[in-house]
């Protein structure tokens, strides 16, 4: 006669096994985060985010402390929202730049903390940013001369959203 008790136990065991596999797959391998209160948001505005993608890492001194949550266009600048671990406090003069792992690796946001007394609060804006490095642009600049350039590529700028006064193409030199 069909044993209902055994069927129940087998169903339960399978359910537990399946849910365990599901949980492992989602959390450990898929990187699903259960508690999002563990991080706070910061905003930054870049003139060029290059190849930066959603969920790209945010690193300080090469250590991943967060990820990119949203990237959108605002006033022809790229407005990026970062999720940073709550355990990491960043001073208000932190510089955010778009770096690549190696020369042609994956783009990520690199934060260089400054020495200010106060820290960035949740939802604050990182005011000092540097755009993504465009390798093709750099080579072009070297090829066609950069005597009239002034500041070399990648110099930090002050205050307001990333302001790049370099001409877009080397041929605009005078």
């Amino acid at each position: 006669m069909f044993d209902y008790k055994r069927a129940e136990i087998a169903a339960g065991a399978f359910l537990v096994m399946g849910l365990a596999a599901l949980a492992y797959l989602s959390l450990s391998i898929g990187g699903l985060k259960l508690r999002s209160r563990d991080s706070y948001r910061l905003r930054a505005r870049f003139s060029n985010v290059g190849d930066l993608k959603l969920r790209a890492p945010v690193k300080v001194a090469g250590v991943t402390i967060g990820s990119v949550e949203t990237i959108r266009l605002a006033d022809y600048y790229a407005e990026v929202e970062l999720a940073v671990d709550r355990s990491v406090q960043l001073p208000t003069d932190t510089i955010a730049s778009i770096a690549t792992a190696g020369l042609l690796g994956e783009a990520h946001v690199s934060l260089s903390p400054g020495a200010a007394d106060r820290n960035l609060a949740a939802g604050a804006r990182i005011t000092r940013t540097e755009p993504a490095l465009n390798v093709a642009d750099l080579l072009g600049r070297y090829a066609f001369g950069n005597a009239n350039q002034g500041a070399p590529a990648g110099a930090p700028d002050s205050g307001s959203p990333d302001s790049e006064r370099r001409p877009a193409s080397p041929r605009e030199n005078r």
């Binding site: 069927a7 129940e8 399946g18 391998i29 898929g30």
Partner: protein, 267 residues
């Protein structure tokens, strides 16, 4: 219609006619299947839930398929690791085998292969069981006792498949990755930690979740086609055999087509 053509002659008109009839037959079939699904789902809302049947079907479809699912997963993972290694070692990128295996499994192979295995095992069993009941007039007996075959036979199988398939697909992925990992480390000489870190960095939640969605849809496909074909069985033992093999073939084809459609839509 075609005037004086002999009965066995193949004329253009007859070919077109046959194609048209086939198309309308297909449309009718799809329509009946859709109405069937709707009627079954409606049973959930007016008190048609049979707990014992759901549990026993879930045990059959889920727990019963663990063996075949894990066995397939082990060998799939091994083959992926081996072929991936051969392909990547030429570029010095053999440590990307982890990403290759994990992404192939979670996105495509786990839902599809799990569904195909479950079709072969549980889908055929469902069709055969219900088909047998249909040809021995047990379905008519249930009807005459005012017992609704949809809520007693179809709905439990549908619910069991919907819950069991994503769980089985997750087991498939995890087992396949584990097998590939063991194989890669012990036989191919890959670095175990690099393998797992590659897996973690390349698999996103979206890959896992889309794979699980596919598994749910495949579960619906299997249960509906198996029970639909089963209930529509006519013609004795041969009819049951026909219904069973049609179930497996149709479900398998729908799974593969559906996989393409969902990949195109969701990725």
């Amino acid at each position: 219609m075609s005037g004086a053509a002999a009965p066995t002659e193949i004329t253009a008109a007859r070919v077109l006619g046959a194609a048209g009839r086939g198309f309308f037959r297909f449309l009718g079939h799809s329509g009946r299947l859709t109405i069937f699904m709707g009627a079954t789902v409606a049973r959930v809302f007016h008190g048609g839930l049979r707990r014992r049947e759901v549990v026993s079907q879930f045990s059959f479809v889920g727990a019963g398929s663990i063996g075949v699912v894990m066995l397939s997963a082990i060998f799939t993972g091994l083959v992926l690791a081996l072929q991936g290694y051969y392909a990547l070692v030429r570029f010095g990128s053999e440590n990307l085998v982890g990403s290759l295996v994990a992404l192939s499994l979670t996105r495509e192979l786990a839902p599809v292969l799990t569904a195909l295995m479950v079709t072969a095992r549980a889908g055929s069993a469902m069709a055969a069981t219900i088909g047998n009941m249909a040809v021995t007039e047990q379905i008519d007996a249930l009807d005459s006792l005012a017992i609704d075959p949809l809520s007693h036979l179809v709905l439990p199988r549908l619910l069991a498949a919907i819950v069991a398939l994503p769980l089985l697909a997750a087991l498939f992925s995890v087992t396949g990755i584990a097998a590939a990992h063991l194989f890669g480390v012990n036989v191919l000489g890959l670095d175990g930690l690099a393998f797992m870190s590659n897996v973690r960095s390349s698999v996103a939640w979206k890959d896992v979740s889309v794979g699980l969605c596919k598994a749910v849809v495949f579960g619906v496909v299997i249960a509906l086609i198996a029970t639909f074909r089963g209930l529509g069985t006519r013609g004795g033992a041969r009819g049951v055999g026909r219904a069973t093999s049609r179930t497996v073939v149709e479900a398998a084809v729908l799974i593969l087509c559906g996989d393409y459609v969902m990949t195109a839509l969701l990725f």
